[in-house]
Amino acid sequence: MISKVVNDADEAVIDIPNNAVLMLGGFGLCGIPENCISALLKTGVTGLTCISNNAGVDDFGIGLMLKTRQVKKMISSYVGENAEFERQLLAGELEVDLIPQGTLAERIRAGGAGIPAFFTPAGYGTEVAEGKEVREFHGKQYLMESWLRSDFSIVKAWKGDTAGNLIFKGTARNFNPMMAAAGKVTIAEVEELVPLGELDPNEIHTPGIYVQRIFKGSDYEKRIEQRTVSN
């Protein structure tokens, strides 16, 4: 297999153009591609549409790209915990498309799997249904939803090999696998980059066929939003 390894985040994101549609993995701040976000701040690319379950916090994650006004539109299921986001939204500087979380996950999965549309009950009877086709199956009402695909998907994994095979850790998996499959170009940053053959083929979560670029990230902060402990 050919190697998909690039040197670092800067090299991985260098050709992401203005107005690109990106997917960024993560749930809250868990499993987000920290290195690539930092690199995007440096390239200064603007007009981005970011598909990501959340929008980070004011000073971490996608929140950093909001501060620098690089994001034109967010497609997310929940965008709390971010004052700058709220300010830009209320000022009309930012577009937001809110999507039920399961529908978001399935639309991305459909994008990667070549399914242009599917039916889900989520949002029937709500404002989410506006303008959408409604159809009854087996006595229940469903909405038709379409696939989501990206120009670049940026994911964060625990371990990866040079062919782009990925293993995630804990709940940091979340949206990352579906996004990896839904990108025209998929960039994976990993904590451990291992040689071919070191990952057990039976334990790989994301097959390398979906990944075009991979690099070993550094200096992961892995910020915790709600540190809850027991004794």
Binding site: E106, Y124, T171, I224, V229
Partner: protein, 218 residues
Amino acid sequence: MLDKVGIAKRIAQEVRDGWYINLGIGIPTLVANYIPDNINVVLQSENGLLGIGPFPTEEKVDADLINAGKQTVSMMPGSVLFDSSESFGMIRGGHVDLTILGAMEVSENGDISNWKIPGKMVKGMGGAMDLVASADNIIVAMQHRSRSGDSKLLKECTLPITGIKCVKKIVTDLAVLDILPQGGFQLIERAPGVSVEEIENATAGKLIVDGDIPEMKI
């Protein structure tokens, strides 16, 4: 009248052995603390975990292991990790036996509003719309009245809807109520020291009171 813990304790009585349960943020999360020891349930976190354990000790805190409320958690023996698509496949496919969540309003036909208040910043519905549209068994945990004293059990919801005809049971600080298939809040139990009249006064939607209404046993 029940406090939050009381509501959680009463809901815990609805839980059956072997169930898979999704708990929303707030009072629903408290329910986990009051499930009897002889009842084994598995808690689902929609960000990708079946088998949520207690909060970790300080040494075991792991940024890569959180629940849907973004709190650090631990795992139980038999826990499983998966991605968001699989997680909502479980939810949408009806594999979760019970969903417990909070609400701002519930209508007498089972509609629920809990995601958006006009004029306030919209944060998004997260997984709530998927949960309410998919689950067969939904219990709402909430205060019977808003802070300004208005009933939250209405003929029709006034706030934007999260899902329609989905709530089956409500446990409030005042009462346990079933929502009937044909519509209406059937009063099942009174909170300790609360009269039927008080519940009638606090319920704007159609309240059905059949015979003697027992007091809850917490």
